[in-house]
């Protein structure tokens, strides 16, 4: 297969990304595979909450519309394949919902895979009893009594479940938590037949996966050298064209906005990484440190020299736990001494909260427009006569935060002059879901893979 190349486009970098991007890539990307990455660190805890209320839910509901949107591309001799982690906390429920759409579109024979096994919550007590500590990844703190507040616990699976699903002729693969790069590594291993200890090529494919996993951040979004000529309104979503030797070309569909250049791609390579020589995934410890980029053609960047070393013995686990309550609200403060007035208004809120009997655990005040988004730094500080006063707080008591939600509106009549813009509904309290990264030995986890036709999923 040495001359073959594999085109993979990523049409979502998080749940809430551009709704039209999957169709843009499916219709104009000349893709072999479309990937959709939906799961930020805490997305699964939200989905866990939904599943607790309704066992049929807990997956990324947008997927149902996406599959309807791209269904014309799912027909034919070389149909598009879709790989996504949008199965969330319920890949099987997701497979059923997606299958319903497929059957409605006349695609009853399309094979759909549910890849699960990442949800550790049902096994947590058993694993703790067996000696797993689930201590904090960064600081080694023990889990302790947080156990009783855990909402979700998911291990990052690698690409093997995806590859296994593809080997069973799945055309749509719906997973729970997998490493983001697995959405690319999985099809690459399947198509090129790489072995699971080919660290160099697994590392190279991981680089490609990392470059496209955040969607338009590789194609001009968030780019430091922004200019209006980038035409972000029509921005193209990224495509990685992988070759058997592990090199890849990053591009985007023709006649779309944005830019694929050494500049945009290099910024994405360094996005959210730690040690570039040790980018941990379940499949390989990728090495980004010697990657080279070349402008191969207009809007095409050649990526070379990604590599890797042996996969880690442990797998990362994301735990989400309940940690009190929070709220955020804002009002507008205008006129002379606006910043001083805004801080005085925030101080008045604190005094009134104290009078009501609440000293909040954490209270944060920012004067947006006066350069206060980076606390303790003077970079963008300036005098402004028009400020958004943003107040945000966190407390272990719901009633304390509930009370704070009542304290912004009174500033309109009992605050300094120039307070305006408080016209919406009252702000609301919401629970805080905190994040606890930890790890477990890889041998105690296996992916479960179920592949059926759409028709079969519905019976």
């Amino acid at each position: 297969m040495s001359t073959k190349s594999l085109r993979i486009g990523n049409g979502a970098g998080f749940w809430g990304d551009n709704l039209d991007a999957p169709r843009q890539l499916a219709e104009r990307g000349e893709l072999d595979y479309l990937t959709l990455e939906y799961l930020a660190e805490l997305t699964l805890s939200i989905l866990a909450h939904q599943r607790a209320k309704d066992p049929a839910r807990g997956f990324v509901t947008d997927l149902v519309d996406v599959v309807k949107d791209i269904s014309p591309k799912l027909f034919g001799n070389t149909p598009l394949k879709l790989i996504t982690n949008g199965g969330g906390m319920n890949p099987v429920g997701c497979a059923k919902a997606v299958s319903q759409v497929l059957v409605d579109q006349g695609l009853a024979q399309v094979r759909v895979a549910a890849v699960a096994g990442d949800d550790l919550l049902p096994r947590l007590d058993e694993l703790i009893a067996a000696g797993e500590s689930f201590s904090h990844f960064d600081n080694g703190q023990p889990l302790g009594d947080l156990r009783n507040r855990i909402v979700s616990a998911n291990v990052y699976l690698g690409a093997e479940g995806i590859t296994s699903a593809l080997a069973q002729d799945a055309q749509i693969v719906l997973t729970g938590r997998v490493a983001d790069a697995a959405l690319v590594v999985g099809p690459a291993v399947h198509e090129f037949g790489w072995s699971w200890d080919d660290w160099s090529r697994l590392g190279a494919a991981t680089v490609a996966g990392h470059l496209i996993e955040c969607g338009a951040q590789a194609t001009g979004g968030m780019y430091s050298d922004w200019d209006t000529k980038l035409d972000l309104g029509t921005i193209g979503y990224p495509i990685a064209e992988l070759r058997d030797n592990g090199t890849s070309i990053i591009s985007k569909p023709t006649d779309t906005g944005g830019e694929v250049s050494i500049g945009t791609v290099s910024e994405q390579l360094v996005y959210e990484i730690g040690d570039p020589q040790q980018y941990f995934t379940p499949d390989v410890v990728a090495d980004f440190s010697h990657v080279r980029l070349t402008q191969h053609a207009e809007n095409e960047v050649l990526v070379e020299a990604g590599t890797g070393t042996e996969a880690p013995k442990t797998l990362k686990v994301s735990i989400a736990y309940r940690d009190g309550f929070t709220t955020t609200g804002s009002i507008v403060v205008v006129g002379p001494r606006a910043q001083e007035k805004a801080h005085a208004a925030a101080a008045a809120v604190r005094v009134r909260m104290k009078t009501a009997g609440y000293e909040l655990d954490q209270f944060e005040v920012e004067c947006l427009g006066a350069g206060e988004t980076l606390p303790g730094m003077d970079l963008w500080r300036r005098s402004s006569q028009e400020i958004v006063l943003r107040i945000s707080a966190r407390d272990h008591r719901r009633e304390a935060i509930d009370r704070l939600t009542r304290e912004l509106a009174p500033l309109v009549t009992s605050g300094p002059p120039g307070v305006t813009g408080y016209t919406g509904a009252r702000i609301r309290s919401r629970p805080v879901l905190a994040y606890w990264p930890t790890k477990i030995p890889r041998e105690i986890v296996t992916a479960s893979v179920e592949v059926r036709s759409a028709e079969e999923w519905l019976t």
Binding site: F137, V270, D275, P276, E366, L368, T373, G376, D378
Partner: protein, 116 residues
């Protein structure tokens, strides 16, 4: 002529979160700029620049193939995206911020500028 320049004249940048840590990747426009960055952007200088965010440790890593340095600012996000009350809870602004850093004007500045 000032004897200082903005870092943004010879580099671009991107930042984000790694749990409670923030990362700031700084990419020089060419090899001359990269060599200069390696000498002036020390862990100490970057730590000083972001001192207001209270990082407990700053680590620097090198990506010579793309002329980039990556900085990991430990515990700079007030507990990270899930706990931080800041507008910029994920550290997205830090890349833009570091480009405002003032560094000594290099003798061969012309060789380090963006050619595009």
């Amino acid at each position: 002529m000032s004897n200082m320049i903005r870092l943004g004249e010879i580099a671009h940048a991107r930042s984000g979160d790694k749990g409670g840590h923030a990362n700031v990747g700084v990419v020089a426009y060419n090899s001359a700029g990269y060599e200069y960055l390696c000498s002036v952007l020390t862990e100490q200088e970057v730590g000083k620049f972001f001192a207001g965010l209270g990082p407990t440790q700053v680590q620097r890593f090198e990506l010579p193939g793309i002329y980039a340095l990556n900085f990991l600012l430990h515990d700079a996000l007030e507990g990270g995206a899930s706990l931080s009350l800041r507008t910029d809870s994920q550290g997205k602004l830090l890349g833009l911020a570091i480009l405002e850093m003032e560094i000594p004007r290099p003798k061969d500045l012309k060789l380090m500028l963006n050619e595009n």
